[in-house]
């Protein structure tokens, strides 16, 4: 069992891939290899987005490279299509691993006709009801109280689902974060709050974001356990999330987990990180690549596939990506007709009039 409020981040595998402590692995070889593939899949999608951005096919993108262990670890610690999720925009790896089809993911980034959000939302503000993924909102922290509400509903309805709510460390400064965590905790709601602490909120380092020694300790204030985890260790993240989910499912109320990680890329496609962090710092974290660490582990366990096999997998993901991209692009882009859909459940007179106006304009 992992302890809450530890001083050192909880970790199972070290940087060289060896076990930092003896532990029983409750994952089959197939599952371990699938985790590896999920990490690769997230990495490929993330990196492929940059050229697409340069081609002007999308206007914004926030990379998650370097955060795969955290995001894929979370997805492997919960029950997919059963639990409910209030993620944030940078959760590329999490969403893809939870089951969001790559094509759906790409279509949203392009805002094409295949986008389930109908081109309404800025790139990376996904929505996927089928996989229980709530619509992502740009306004930082605004999804925390809604997550508490989903969890309260789950308790009320007597389900054994939990709600998982993710956010960056910057979000923990917003009033909504405190209001939402308190609401969930006071209601003993089945809510798992997970901070993906990549140490920067755009240019602000976490040390200037909060004077708390870490994010996990904030759980003290709300009377819920706070786990401090090495976010570069996919097995540790998965194990702590799984333990927390079980604790929550057993009716114990909410939990806070902090995964200490790092974004290798800029904050977003319109950011210049050289203004606020050194090349050396970025390089030192690049050297702690969570994908490499996991490969070292697989190697030590004697189950790492041959390089050619891994390369072939990269190739197949790339092919899947290109196909999805072309299909999405070929579906075309929304035209004025859909501007007034979904504002309300019906079309009030004033909107009907405005729609008529647009129709005349487009005749």
């Amino acid at each position: 069992m992992f302890e809450a409020f530890t001083n050192q981040p909880i970790r199972l595998i070290g940087e060289d891939g060896s076990r930092t402590q003896p532990f029983e692995l409750d994952l089959s070889v197939d599952e371990l290899l699938q985790i590896h593939r999920d990490m690769i899949r997230a990495r490929v999608c993330d990196e492929r987005l940059i050229p697409i951005l340069r081609q002007g096919k999308t206007s914004f993108y926030a990379q998650s490279t370097g955060m795969e262990a955290t995001q894929i670890g979370i997805a492997w610690g919960v029950k997919k299509k059963h639990d409910w999720f209030w993620p944030y925009y940078r959760d590329n790896g999490l969403l893809l691993t939870l089951g969001m089809p790559m094509g759906r993911w790409i279509a949203q980034l392009l805002g094409s006709n295949e986008d389930v959000c109908k081109g309404r939302q800025m790139p990376q503000h996904f929505s996927d009801p089928e996989n229980h993924i709530a619509s992502i909102c740009s306004a930082i922290g605004s999804h925390i109280a809604p997550a508490a509400g989903t969890a309260i509903a789950q308790k009320y309805l007597g389900t054994d689902e939990i709600t998982v709510c993710t956010f960056g460390e910057g979000a923990t400064s917003e009033g909504d974060w405190h209001a939402g965590v308190n609401m969930a905790s006071a209601n003993k709601a089945p809510c798992l709050f997970i901070c993906e602490n990549n140490q920067y909120a755009i240019s602000l380092n976490v040390k200037d974001q909060t004077n708390s020694k870490n994010i996990a300790v904030k759980g003290h204030a709300y009377g819920i356990p706070g786990f401090y985890v090495d976010g570069q260790d996919v097995l540790a993240v998965r194990a702590v999330v799984k333990q927390a989910a079980e604790y929550i499912r057993a009716g114990n109320g909410s939990v806070l987990i902090e995964c200490l990680t790092y974004r290798i890329g800029t904050h977003s496609s319109s950011d210049d990180d050289s203004r606020y962090r050194s090349k050396d710092e970025v390089e030192s974290w690049r050297a702690q690549d969570p994908l490499v660490r996991f490969e070292r582990f697989l190697e030590k366990e004697g189950i790492l596939p041959a390089r050619e096999e891994i390369e072939a997998y990269y190739g197949s993901v790339l092919a899947e990506f290109e196909e999805a991209l072309q299909k999405s692009d070929a579906s075309g882009y929304p035209t004025w007709e859909i501007l007034f859909d979904d504002v309300y459940s019906d079309l009030p007179d004033h909107l009907a009039q405005q729609a008529l106006y647009l129709r005349e304009e487009n005749l």
Partner: protein, 338 residues
């Protein structure tokens, strides 16, 4: 305005070409230099120089006591600004996007806007909240909204939206010197769209004075902020057809220049009101109301409004949403053909 009069060429002020965001940067720089009680803060305004670079170089020049980054909390940014005012400082706070004013909304409307009234004039808030607003940059709904009407509806706040570098600088300097809380909306799509010569010497622009961008006698076109270049394009198209439009840029919404608007509409008898905010409860509704109340007998056509649609701001349909020159011309035709 302390601008030199242009009739005296020898004393003509030195001017340099600036775009709108550079003008804003200069205004803050000059006010930081002028008054040690002025502070600049917000998310990413320090090392990063602001996500749009409005505060670029200011921390390097004035140090991190006067120009600093805050935690990610608009409620803290605005609330702290109110507290600083009580103790004699003049904060200039940046909210990264107007769409993120909402987490700080309570602090703006309950504290900043009302503390003077509440305290019988004993306390007040000489603060400025600067924020990029409006659409046209493919930002989807949370990076494109025009929320000015929430604030024009709140007594106690002054509300500004410039559309040129010259105005931006003069109005921001005025805002920083005023003893009231000022909501300073910056049309982000105009940040780098054009340059204009701006005086290097000190000048301010008083609130409540509209700018007449074009003089004419046939129809009045009134706008503010991001729509102004399109309003001017539409006016030029009308001119090419032999119609003489008058173009008014309101520049400040609270207070707004009723006199200039009424004088112009009294002259032309026709008016088109243009803004990109959603139409219902749009600030221009107030302008329309005053026009009909004051000039009912003199109007040659009903007031026509061009605005954003009453939908959330869409990503893929950015261009469809915004009222470009064609929509303004269509409205002008309706007025002229009445």
């Amino acid at each position: 305005m302390t601008m030199q009069s242009p009739e005296k060429p020898s004393a003509a002020p030195v001017r340099k070409p600036l775009n709108l965001i550079q003008a804003i940067n200069e205004a803050m720089r000059e006010e930081l230099l002028r008054d040690p009680n002025v502070l600049v803060f917000g998310e990413d305004v320090g090392k990063r120089g602001g996500v749009f670079l409005a505060t670029e170089g200011l921390q390097a020049e004035f140090g991190n006591k006067r120009v600093f980054d805050t935690p990610l909390s608009e409620a803290s940014i605005v609330g702290a600004a109110v507290g600083m005012c009580i103790r004699g400082l003049r904060p200039v706070a940046e909210i990264q996007f107007a769409d993120y004013l909402y987490p700080g909304f309570d602090q703006i409307v309950s504290q900043a806007a009302k503390i003077r009234y509440r305290s019988g004039g004993g306390f007040y808030c000489p603060m400025v909240i600067r924020t990029p607003s409006g659409g046209g940059v493919r930002g989807g709904n949370h990076h494109s909204q025009s929320p000015e009407a929430y604030f024009t509806h709140t007594p106690g706040l002054k509300v500004v939206m410039p559309s040129t570098p010259y105005d931006a600088k003069g109005l921001l300097k005025e805002a920083i010197r005023l003893d009231d809380p000022v909501m300073f909306f910056e049309p982000k799509r105009l940040y780098r769209s054009f340059k204009e010569d701006v005086p290097t010497e000190d000048y301010t622009i008083p609130f409540g004075k509209a700018a007449i961008r074009m003089e004419g006698s046939d129809i009045t076109l009134i706008g503010y902020g991001g729509v102004m270049p399109d309003v001017i394009k539409a006016a030029e198209a009308l001119k090419a057809e032999g119609i003489q439009p008058e173009v008014i840029d309101l520049r400040t919404l609270i207070p707004w220049d009723r006199e200039a608007v009424l004088a112009s509409v009294a002259k032309t008898g026709r008016v088109v009101l243009i803004s990109e905010a959603p139409r219902t409860s749009n600030f221009m509704g107030e302008v329309a109301y005053v026009i009909q109340e004051e000039l009912f007998d003199q109007m040659l056509a009903p007031v026509v409004q061009v605005a954003g649609f009453d939908t959330p701001y869409p990503y893929a349909l950015d261009k469809v949403y915004l009222p470009g020159p064609n929509r303004i011309l269509r409205a002008a035709a309706k007025s002229l053909g009445y």
